[in-house]
Symmetry: C2
């Protein structure tokens, strides 16, 4: 028999919030390039925080995100300005929730609900506030407090120490294969929100549950 | 005045050898899927050794490469068999050199020439031998000897300790942005072989030289 779940811990970018939706603001500023910018921006954002962790050269998620944006614009051959970058970085504070995110958080209010993100508080806190879901969450934890990015074990260890429970009493949700693998590797129970119908990562770390969106969590309602 | 270069150190996959050329064998086995398989295979190979390093769960490059192949085939919805995987893994031991690679190694024979790869010796040594370039190289170093993948500083440190020279007496060549960034971060001098005309990575680690292919090295002939 599994232990009871004492905390539902959610990743943020790609899991509760749609990061690719930012393509609309990119498209307005750079017609014909919105899709490519948003995809490269996200790909490089993930690559850059992994690289920073690997190279032992932490900088905040806000700085990583801005660097990734610069790369994305340059890879499309586009000229950028301070003002454009500020506008797109600001759009990152107003990302839309996936359509089911808020309803699922509401349905699970009898549980402890926490978010745990690579996002630094300067990005994470305004995002949650702008979406109006801060009242639905018990806590918003950021790796910025220790300067170690997920999927390093030290990052999940930080979240665990803040929760004050056992590893296998955490159910961790993410849409990102690298994040769900890292969490499982650390010892969390995991629910992969497999929004893109992708194969399970071949890392020997099968998630405990796989759902196509967050509504799969309603079995614990 | 720069110090003289005491060793020319080459990355292997994507730098001396064309990993995407394997699309032809993939295409023969799975018509219409060759390009997609070869691209996903490489993307996942890189992602998986980075993930392994980040999660502190080293396995050899051969195992990483086989896992990435499984993912690539599954993502195309293809059924695989042991025999097919063996055939494609074997093809990885017969990758073609880029067209200029051998000639450039020949022209630089008055220098110390070393390869330094994430590839384990079970993949690296046969590849070099099958290409017939072992006589052109002073040494083939693999991270497998210490179980730490590039771009972690520990990996470059291993190469340096084997060379017995100073960091800035190494000129390190790679086509991979993550590798050239990691080498520069460690303190090597770097020449980025920018085969795809990509932007410089936004990691605050500009390479010392940028060439469109290895022929750029002939200035040190």
């Amino acid at each position: 028999m599994d232990k009871p779940i004492k905390a539902f811990v959610f990743d943020v970018y790609g899991t509760l919030f749609d990061v690719i939706a930012i393509k609309e603001q990119c498209e307005e500023l750079f017609p014909g390039h919105g899709e490519a910018i948003s995809q490269t921006w996200r790909t490089k954002q993930v690559e850059y925080f992994m690289m920073r962790q690997l190279m032992e050269k932490y900088i905040s998620f806000a700085e990583v995100t801005r660097s990734a944006l610069k790369y994305a614009l340059e890879s499309e051959g586009l000229e950028s300005t301070e003002a454009i970058e500020r506008q797109l970085m600001d759009a990152y504070l107003h990302l839309p929730l996936y359509e089911e995110s808020e309803a699922v958080l509401r349905e699970l209010q009898n549980h402890k609900l926490v978010v745990f993100s690579n996002g630094s508080h300067d990005m994470l806190d305004p995002l949650i506030e702008n979406a109006g879901i801060q009242g639905l969450l018990d806590e918003a934890l950021s790796v910025d407090d220790i300067g170690q990015f997920k999927p390093a074990p030290a990052a999940y260890q930080y979240a665990l120490s803040r929760l004050g429970i056992e590893r296998d009493e955490v159910l961790f949700m993410s849409s990102n294969g690298w994040d769900i693998s890292g969490a499982k590797n650390f010892g969390f129970r995991t629910a992969w929100i497999n929004r893109k119908q992708a194969p399970v990562e071949q890392l020997g770390l099968e998630p405990n549950y796989v759902f196509s969106d967050l509504k799969g969590l309603l079995k614990w309602k």
